[in-house]
């Protein structure tokens, strides 16, 4: 397996399709030598080879430098399958459909925030419920929930929640076409009724930050960012509704693969042709869940603005601008290298370059914003999509630092209470309902985010625009 890994250039490695008889295309990894050694430490490359066996996959199965072992697809995996008869794989999108990040830029600097920092973090933690299954203040049922699934955050703006400017500064304007609530099970709908405006669990968070360093002045100006400015990064997804959509369709496709004569090395890769009844139904349900996730982050941003209003005043709340919102786990029909493909991004971010008609007009000269969260206690980065992404990675870049240690390994090395003390000693305010959950997300459990960003920059997939330093975190 990995013995067949060969170097293509300074940050690209390839396992040829000949490495295994069932691989249809090569498997390629963006990494430097040090990241590659870490990647070899788990089974992510084997999982990437498995992805390369999917019927209809084109060019290569790709891995971003934050790749780590997942289930089915590795986290950080990208696969494009031909339209209309290549497969779509629910496991290739994941359970947290359209897990993603949204960046808000405040109108004041860290100095202006001053001693109100802790109060703001606390108020945000009170406003937005954290934890699996936690319900929020917004409840959508029946036709109201259907509208959220079809229109995403547009349905919320119609209710006076958020603004049209927020929608314009969201990937796909926060709404994938083709969403069909009838393709979403009753069980999924019941899980989604009360979770719009909730953060969830695991690695989800809301982080208060300071723009520490500007790395690309022109792009930073276009994104409305300057040194010292306060920002808020929101990381969440489609919650229980999305988890249930994936569960339902993995089960459905697992039962259907024999009918389509599909042979898979891993049951979690269960898939069906996009044009099949199962494929069409999944794409309609996935779009609905993706729209729900955008509505969730949109509602969270609204609740954050309300919290800002209570602590910093209405003017500051009204001046809080959404920089952008990007999806991490999604399958989208796009055109690349002259053909239409279904791009599966599992823990990876769309990163379209300057000139793309699919990014907001005010960013079109510099490229699509991309946000790469580090970990609690380390920097996050704002990047801009670069032309190399269209040439080499189906318009995609990485989505985070990537785990290095398992959750068990992290909790063996530090207790949540001790980590809380360490973070607070660094001046980072922490709000987290579970000490164990906190320890599982310890900074040392993640790869070096600066190295990951350096690789995607050297690969030409995206270029660094700004570095953000954490001031406080509300963890799911």
């Amino acid at each position: 397996m990995t013995s067949e890994l060969r170097q293509i250039d300074e940050v690209l490695w390839e396992i040829p399709a000949s490495a295994r008889p069932d691989m249809r295309v090569p498997a390629r990894v963006f990494a430097d030598r040090e990241l590659l050694e870490a990647i070899k430490g788990d089974r992510s490359l084997e999982q990437l080879e498995n992805v390369a066996t999917l019927p209809g996959i084109v060019e290569a199965a790709l891995a971003m430098p934050d790749i780590h072992q997942g289930y089915g697809f590795p986290v950080g995996g990208v696969a494009a399958t031909q339209v209309p008869d290549g497969v779509v794989s629910p496991g290739g999108v994941g359970y947290d459909i359209n897990c993603g990040v949204r960046l808000l830029a405040l109108s004041l600097d860290e100095e202006g925030l001053g001693e109100r920092r802790e109060a703001l973090v606390h108020e945000i933690s009170r406003a937005i419920p954290a934890g699996t299954g936690k319900h929020g203040a917004l409840r959508f049922r029946g036709e109201e929930l259907d509208r959220v699934l079809v229109d995403g955050p547009h349905a919320l703006v119609a209710l006076g929640i958020g603004t049209d400017d927020d929608l314009e500064h969201t990937e796909s304007s926060g709404c994938l076409p083709g969403a069909d609530p009838a393709a979403v099970s009753e069980r999924a709908l019941s899980r989604g009724e009360g979770q719009v405006g909730t953060v969830g669990s695991g690695n989800h968070f809301i982080e208060l930050q300071r723009v520490e360093r500007i790395l690309d002045a022109a792009a930073a100006e276009a994104f409305g960012l300057h040194e010292g400015q306060v920002t808020i990064l929101i990381h969440s997804g489609s919650r229980g509704l999305g988890h249930q959509v994936c569960t339902d369709y993995v089960k459905l496709m697992d039962a259907a693969i024999a009918r389509y004569e599909i042979h898979l090395p891993d049951r979690q890769l269960a898939c069906a042709p996009q044009s099949s009844p199962e494929g069409e139904a999944y794409l309609a349900a996935m779009a609905a869940a993706a729209n729900y996730a955008w509505a969730n982050r949109h509602a969270m941003a609204h609740l954050v603005r309300e919290a800002i209003g209570r602590i910093l005043g209405k003017e500051t709340a009204q001046a809080t601008r959404q920089v952008y919102d990007v999806a991490h786990n999604v399958a989208k029909i796009e055109e690349h290298n002259g053909r239409r493909v279904c791009v599966h991004r599992k823990g990876a971010t769309r990163a379209f370059p300057a000139g793309s008609p699919d990014i907001p007009a005010d960013y079109r000269a510099v490229g699509q914003p991309v946000f790469i969260p580090g970990s609690m206690g380390t920097s996050s980065f704002v990047l801009a999509g670069a032309p190399g992404s269209m040439e080499r990675s189906f318009g995609t870049t990485c989505h985070g630092a990537g785990r290095r240690l398992s959750r068990h390994a992290a909790t063996r090395q530090i207790q949540g209470a001790e980590l809380r003390r360490q973070l607070e000693a660094q001046g980072i305010v922490v709000r987290c309902p579970s000490n164990r959950g906190l320890a599982e997300e310890a900074p040392f459990a993640y790869k070096d985010v600066e190295r990951v960003v350096d690789v995607v920059a050297r690969a030409g997939l995206a270029r660094p625009v700004a570095q953000l330093r954490p001031l406080g975190v509300v963890k799911g």
Binding site: G72, Y95, D96, A130, T132, G133, G202, R267, L405, P433
Partner: protein, 130 residues
Amino acid sequence: MYRWVEHTGELELSIEAPTETGVFAEALAALSQILGEEPGGEMARRELALSASDPPALLAEWLNELIFLAETESFVPEHVAELEISHSALHAVVEGRRGESPPLIKAVTYHKLELTEEDGSWRGRVVLDV
């Protein structure tokens, strides 16, 4: 007996038991360990009737149902009062408590999913998305 196996991104559960029903009971015990971090709340019972395409998928279905009940009804399972498995279907009565469960598990995956019998011993393997 169950144990958690090292997995970079998720939680991998490995189970050994003398019987098939024993694997299902151990799977519930493992889940209870996670969901029941903060005990309390009144006693509750749930009757479950589940089916799947094959026995390993039934094991995933079992855990998915318990996660669903924890999320939607705040039902934290503690032990199996009754459990009958026939082919790829089961009937069970589960006892537990109503209460807040800590935020952790999103779903049960089919990755490395396993339920096998060898030399009179049953083994199960499940990877949970967290």
